[in-house]
Symmetry: C2
């Protein structure tokens, strides 16, 4: 890893990064056992009894405002973060300033796993709207999971899932056309909205065309053109960031069942 940690950060968001969001508990402690994202999050697949182990850790819930930075590339790794509500993006910046979005994160998803390897975060994480997160101190997680097989399994499985997710993205970036990428992206968002109880047919994107493009390895103009083309083909109704999938089957048949 010779990606420079001191690389200049070029936030795409308008909102100026006023203050770094510290991982320090500043809000009330929370109970995983009563959390609505429980099934999607770290406690997924863990028994009620074992979830109490998590409840006893100093997991803090905190609001993060739109555009705020949760952690930067190179920051010391201390916390894992779980999204309670809202959307985040994580990105990597090269020495020359080029930035690439490496993921978007929704409720229940864990962020910061890439920091475990070296003790420093390998990516940067910024909220795309007003959000709520849980800061999970990693020290206790690794200590407790030494005695709780279930918790250990949960962490390991989440990491493995992250590896698989990145495989899919590599596939997308390495061998798919612009149309396929955009379709795969929309179907992926749709599926994740669905998993969270929202409509899979109609949703509001939290990210700009530039951020989508960065994630998909293409320019914002190409994203825009592709969305317009899909609309003309009757697959979508696009109104700025509001997307309605009008022909789900066609979108899937044409480009789907290939990613995630």
């Amino acid at each position: 890893m010779s990606i420079a940690f001191e690389a200049p950060i070029h936030p795409i968001r308008i909102i100026p990064v006023v203050s770094r969001a510290e991982g320090v508990p500043s809000a009330s402690a929370v109970g995983c056992s009563t959390c609505s994202s429980r099934k999607l999050c770290l406690p997924g697949g863990i028994s009620e009894a074992e979830i109490e182990l998590l409840d006893r850790m100093a997991i803090a819930r905190r609001r993060v405002r739109a555009g705020e930075t949760l952690y930067r590339q190179g920051d010391r790794f201390q916390y894992l973060y779980a999204v309670r509500s809202g959307t985040f993006k994580s990105s990597i910046t090269l020495a020359d300033g080029r930035e690439q979005v490496s993921g978007f994160h929704m409720a229940g998803e864990l962020m910061g796993l890439d920091g475990i390897a070296s003790g420093h975060h390998a990516s940067c994480c910024i909220s795309l709207e007003d959000t709520e997160i849980c800061s999970i101190p990693y020290g206790p997680v690794s200590t407790i999971s030494a005695t709780s097989a279930a918790l250990q399994t949960a962490v390991t499985r989440l990491m493995s899932r992250e590896i698989v997710r990145e495989h899919s993205l590599m596939m997308l970036l390495g061998s798919m056309s612009a149309e396929e990428r955009v379709a795969a992206f929309l179907l992926n968002i749709s599926q994740r909205m669905n998993a969270r109880g929202y409509s899979p047919h109609e949703f509001h994107l939290r990210m700009s065309r530039a951020e989508i493009g960065s994630y998909l390895g293409m320019k914002l103009e190409t994203v825009s053109r592709t969305l317009s083309a899909f609309q003309q083909q009757g697959l979508l109704a696009v109104d700025r960031r509001h997307i309605r999938i009008t022909n789900f089957d066609a979108l899937e048949r044409g480009f789907g069942s290939r990613f995630q």
Copy 2:
């Protein structure tokens, strides 16, 4: 993940896949404590005392012939595999048959981590030459790491490192030009050869142009052209798969310090 597990596999290698290499111990049990790849592999950073825990597991060493398949996409996940000698490639295949190489693996590197999430391998792994591997039964690993914090840390760290590695590859696929990709690839191989005690300036590639191209998200012709261009610029001496880096600094200055 709707990547079809039953997808037809299109091996690039000449050598017909005679028999599936089973993860079952068929060779002598090995001691991690005496292994020369120890520092790079799973035991890395673990104390001598703890390595004995690994030695007590039924880790089997076995030869794998060139072109043999270690596991396929969709196979049940039972073993992690460590490369003892030689080179492997792993790849993902889409429903329509498109294949993308997702990694090359050298001595000491762990393969199969993507199978933990679902209990089935999410990629396919094939040896590029006659090799030796260690099959590490995953059940015991997870059992023992419930009591050994050091082993648990080692596994977790290796997984996190894999996530970071894939981040780099995403960056490469998403925002780098063909020349940058090839340079980054060569520098990465060079660095890994160096870490294994080989010359970082001169090495033999075990993979075809097509496999390199698949890994880097470009066509084999483009790989070939790029190598020729580098040779003309005096950066490399290329003789088929034998590479000599004649101007390391220029290669790094021009394209390096950007990847891994």
